[in-house]
């Protein structure tokens, strides 16, 4: 069953001083339901632009984006969003943050409370429901962001460098949580990251994107996410297969970066 269908999408930003930047050129792909797609690439490759188009925050200048059979015309509760810095509402406590989506859609209260209880347990914050956002650590805040997005039961979860602001240790733990949520909920996830290791570990499909114009350069089908929960993550990341892939992709990205530098005469 196809979930996301992206067909020859172009995105051109007009610059205020005239001229334009081609952020995406002829991007096409299809994503089956329940896949975890990671987007990787040097800065300026349009991965966040692509995510924002999927979320409906931006309208592509050309091409179509479908979720199921319906075209994406704007942001909606069927596509949950997780940002690098939580974007949590600090005037609400953890419970109210998580229940924000259902409350906005006037879902039955008792049901919402039950969902919140379940989600708090799922993300390991069962004792923190009454806490304020600023009383939580960065990792805990991202857990709240994940739970808040899940509370709406979206078809697709879009994550824009969700673990980018965390320290290395917390980041590894949170990668496990993302994998766990993906396995348990069977949601389609699209995740943008800067970290090659993270893209390999979390993605069961990986696009390496290239800049100027932004496009999908390489596509990988990856085996690691499938077994990521069953083996020790560090062992997996230290396995020869993983390292081989990592170095391969790193050198691809390095090559692109060098090309940009050469192009700019830098």
């Amino acid at each position: 069953m196809k979930d996301l269908k992206v067909d020859s999408v172009d995105m051109v930003y007009r610059l205020p001083k005239g001229g334009s930047v081609q952020a995406l050129q002829d991007v096409s792909f299809e994503l089956d339901r329940g896949r975890l797609l990671t987007l990787l690439g040097p800065s300026g490759c349009g991965k966040t632009t692509l995510l924002n188009i999927l979320a409906g925050f931006l309208a592509p200048t050309a091409g179509t984006v479908l979720l199921g059979d319906a075209p994406i015309t704007g942001p909606g509760p069927d596509r949950g969003m997780v940002f690098q810095q939580g974007a949590l509402f600090e005037w609400l406590d953890v419970r109210k943050n998580i229940s924000f989506g259902p409350r906005m859609q006037r879902a039955p209260r008792a049901e919402t409370e039950r969902t919140v209880d379940e989600l708090l347990t799922t993300v390991g914050l069962q004792d923190f429901g009454e806490k304020r956002i600023y009383e939580l650590s960065g990792g805990m805040q991202q857990r709240v962001a994940l739970a808040r997005c899940l509370a709406n039961d979206p078809a697709v979860i879009l994550m824009d460098e969700p673990l980018g602001a965390l320290d290395a240790l917390t980041r590894e733990k949170m990668q496990g949580l993302v994998l766990k949520l993906w396995k348990e909920t069977g949601k389609t996830i699209v995740l943008v990251t800067h970290s090659v290791e993270e893209a390999l570990f979390l993605g069961d499909k990986l696009f390496v994107m290239a800049p100027r114009p932004g496009r999908i350069e390489y596509t990988y089908e990856l085996p690691f996410a499938e077994i990521g929960l069953d083996v020790e993550p560090r062992d997996l990341k230290a396995s020869p297969e993983f390292i081989e892939r990592r170095e391969e992709i790193l050198s691809l990205i390095w090559e692109m970066e060098e090309q940009i530098m050469g192009h700019d005469g830098g």
């Binding site: 909606g76 509760p77 949950g80 969003m81 940002f83 509402f89 600090e90 005037w91 924000f100 997005c149």
Partner: protein
Amino acid sequence: MSDNVGVGVHDQETLETAADDEGGFLSGLRPASGLLPGSGSPEDRKTVSFGDAAAVRSLPLWSLIALIVLAALWWAGTRAWGFPDDFRAATAAAYEQKDPPEALTDAKLLTECRLAGIAATEAGEPAPCNEDAYSQFLSPAAFPTPADTWRGFNTLRTEGFKNITLWEHARTSLTRVGVGMLVGSLVGIPIGFAMGLSSRIRGFFDTPVELLRPIPPLALIPLFILWFGIGNPSAFALLIFASVWIMIISARAGVRDISLSKVRAAYSLGASKRQILFRLIVPNALPELFTGFRVALGVSWGTLVAAELVGTDTGLGSMIFQARNFFRLDVVVVGIIVISIIGVLLDLIVRMLESVLIPWRGKGR
């Protein structure tokens, strides 16, 4: 984010270690300088900070000391050093014999002393009290002594000045400032919000706001008296004028304070435009609004004395100006002190409300 403002300075030794790196691979690495023999305990560590700006709370002890110093200066500056005690006692006794008995103030004592001196000189007798016999920095005619002020305070409290008690003056003033703030906020906040939300409205209101904002309310007194007449209406208009621009600007800043990712997150959670306005932008603007409210309250309270110049007969400001006409300096000083204390209390109350109502202030993002 840390509040640490202190500027650390690298230990000399660390810098030298990097400089004399001439060995092979990794030979530049040394143990941390603190562990080197002879480098001393951590207490000897050389660090530099500029003042202690990082200490946000001032020490209450020092605030208390400052208060005592001020009081002592007042007492010492107005006290008649070396004043003959027998003259004071005799005059006080004479005042008690009066019908009705009168309390002897320091200001009256000075007058009596002068009169007695003049009378004695005319009669060719030695003066019982010579003004030059004592020294003081501030004559009670120019600044009331603490004792006179306290007496004045008590009279104001019980009998009042011109039959209106101090509390009534204070209550009237507070009501005026309250109404001014209320109307200023009710008008200013919606305009500020609209300016923050729509570039058209922003463009429209920007010029008038920027042109009217710098006008000191005092400059408008002649016009306001012509337009609104003498008394309360003009005072209200001045106080509204003092607060409304501040509220507009803080509401506008509060709206613009919202981060794009929060708005996007809310849209992705299925919120409507209306819900984003009331569930997101309004609560997010509260800290800025509170700051604006605090500033506007301070400015309004400060404008009050001027506002009450426009012919009102109650209020702390008008009390001061009427007392001035009767040379009741004790009443003037009591009025000044009460205005100051109420100003401090108002600020404290708003700050307390702030920490109760918006505990997330400054902790967002």
